[in-house]
């Protein structure tokens, strides 16, 4: 039997429908892959018993012809989603013993549609970080490694027998090449680093993520996977550990654009329990993949040509534009003049909302408690021990910018700048632009421990291209589009009109079709 973990979600669904294999076999193959990949630290909790029980139930429903759209599909869940009876920690020490008595709306919809939960995935503590290094469970190791050398052994040799599945080769790769890799460990990006690494390393067919400033799109770009942050309000935030409520959105990771579209359809939808959830029909996103892009106007924002942008990213961006043009889209230069203020405004709004949201961790109702002489000392000790350095930093910045005398200078001004950022996009879309193409990240993945300078801003700059989208509440898709000189995957970002995720899937499909897919060579 072929390796079931190498299938795409769509292929697995077809295989289950044709009874080529059972949901239990599919789940078992993934559980074995997870066990063999513990060196990546992608899963912080494996739930094999629950996974097998869910897979057996899926097989029963499939046998009766009563399967849902994700029946028997094994998925990983970012540890930011509350899962009933299954430890949910946000990868924070302060929540290390929390077992929710309820299920998040997004995950409940995945189980409603028949999906199987393999376990909980690592992330930066409370989703605050861009490398997954702030997790209380330690960093995730990317399945990707830098290539040092590429030896052509024999150019005349034909394709080897390994080229069985479409995901085994990337465009242009010859199987007669021997590649030598650096053993230095790279980050998968963050905050949804576990989700990205698990999808890239075939440890699930798809995964959930959350994105507050780029936490789905940046790790997707770093790992050669597809990730989408939908429009604010598209997915319910109920049952997701809150970071910055006006920016947080859930979204899927997958190995193909179509797979991501299938997952989003199940995750999205109105939820009366989230007042910002939008009551709007959920389209069949997968139907948008493969549609024509002829005549679509694609904006190329000049402000994204930032100082010090690497030549490789600039080249990739140009190649992506050429792919869309070749498919019949029209490219137009657009201007988003407030782009450079998005990141500074984000580092006021996000910490302000975080400081308020994280006030709930006081050692009284749930989580870890450190005793003190009185209640204030108990709070202060609990929070000092329970929060890691990055979370503490952001709570303190948020507390400061919201404190008496500073609110107008910081928070109010940042929210005004946010209005201007959204207006930049609105003006662009009003001129007939269907979507905007940008790089997803300023560079390829970096090494674990490489960005731990005294200045926290260095890490924040990773989100320079993604954060504008959260500030404006728009949908953004990251799709792999090429590789750097060391063989690491690079991604592009497509930004859409509010609730027009379909156009992003259509355009992402064109890039995927042209650029091919990107799979790390297994070393773990």
């Amino acid at each position: 039997m072929t390796d079931l973990t190498k299938l795409t979600l769509t292929e697995a669904r077809d295989g289950l429908a044709k009874k080529s294999f059972s949901a239990l076999e599919l789940t078992d193959a993934h559980l074995a892959a997870i066990e063999a990949a513990r060196a990546l630290n992608a899963y912080v909790l494996e739930t094999p018993d629950q996974a097998r029980a869910m897979a057996r139930a899926a097989d029963e429903r499939l046998a009766k012809g009563a399967g849902g759209p994700l029946e028997g599909i094994p998925l990983g869940v970012k540890d930011m989603f509350a899962t009933r009876g299954v430890r949910t920690t946000a990868c924070a020490r302060i929540l290390s013993n929390f077992v929710p008595p309820y299920e998040s709306t997004v995950t409940s919809q995945l189980w409603r549609d028949g999906a199987v939960m393999l376990g909980k995935l690592n992330n930066d503590e409370f989703a605050m970080g861009s490398s997954n290094e702030t997790s209380a469970f330690g960093p995730v190791v990317s399945p990707w490694r830098r290539r040092i050398e590429k030896k052509i052994l024999s150019e005349s040799r034909g394709p080897s027998k390994d080229v069985a599945g479409p995901d085994l080769v990337w465009k242009g790769m010859k199987t007669s090449e021997e590649e030598i890799y650096d053993t230095a460990k790279l980050v998968p990006g963050g905050s949804s680093g576990g989700s990205a690494a698990a999808v890239a390393a075939n440890l699930c067919l798809g995964a959930t993520g959350t994105d507050t400033g780029g936490s789905i799109r940046q790790p997707a770009a770093f790992t050669g996977t597809v990730g989408i942050k939908p429009t604010y309000g598209r997915c319910s935030r109920w049952g997701i550990v809150a970071f910055a409520s006006s920016l947080d959105q859930a979204g899927p990771f997958a190995r193909t654009v179509e797979d991501a579209a299938i997952l989003l359809r199940s995750m999205a939808g109105h939820d009366p329990k989230d007042t910002t959830s939008v009551d709007r029909a959920v389209p069949d996103y997968a139907a948008a993949v493969g549609k024509s892009v002829k005549g679509m106007k694609i904006g190329i924002p000049k402000e994204y040509r930032v100082d010090g942008m690497s030549a490789e990213i600039e080249k990739l961006w140009g190649e992506g534009a050429a792919m869309l043009k070749a498919a019949g889209a029209e490219l137009v230069e657009v201007s988003l003049p407030h782009t450079k203020y998005a990141l500074p405004a984000y580092y006021i709004v996000a910490p302000a909302e975080a400081s308020s949201n994280l006030a709930r961790y006081d050692g009284v109702r749930y989580g870890v408690r450190v005793p003190g002489r009185d209640i204030v000392e108990m709070y202060e000790k609990t929070r000092a021990e329970g929060f890691g350095p990055e979370v503490r930093r952001r709570i303190m910045i948020g507390t400061y910018v919201l404190s008496a005398g500073y609110y107008d200078a910081y928070y109010l001004r940042a929210q005004q700048v946010r209005t201007l950022i959204r207006k930049d996009f609105e003006d662009c879309f009003a001129n007939g632009v269907s979507a905007i193409l940008t790089p997803a990240t300023p560079s390829a993945a970096f090494g674990i421990g490489e960005k731990t300078s005294e200045d926290p801003v260095e890490m924040y700059l990773n989100d320079v291209f993604t954060v504008t989208v959260n500030m404006a509440g728009l949908p953004g898709l990251a799709v792999p589009a090429g590789r750097d000189s060391q063989g690491l995957p690079l991604g592009l970002q497509l930004i859409g009109r509010p609730f027009d995720e379909e156009t992003l899937f259509t355009l992402g499909g064109v890039i995927e079709q042209t650029a091919g897919r990107f799979t790390p060579q297994r070393w773990w």
């Binding site: 910002t276 006081d362 108990m378 709070y379």
Partner: protein, 95 residues
Amino acid sequence: MSVDTATVRKIAHLARIAVKDDEVAHLQGELNAILAFVEHLSEVDVAGVEPMTSVTPMAMKKRADVVNDGEIADAVVANAPAIEDHFFLVPKVVE
């Protein structure tokens, strides 16, 4: 704007996070780096600009003022570090 060590201690207290003496200088440096970064916003002309209050323009949803949940005290206190019956226990706050 930048913060001095006294302000760092004040913020830590407002945030209810204990900070050790030898951490203050380090935190001050980090917070000032972030504050210097966000200082760029002072360049922007925001006169007459409405602050964003709703990301996706929508009318506030309201639900009926009725009891639709409850009788789950066991679940509510299940994760608490210290309880007595269905009450959360905290150190004494009133003498």
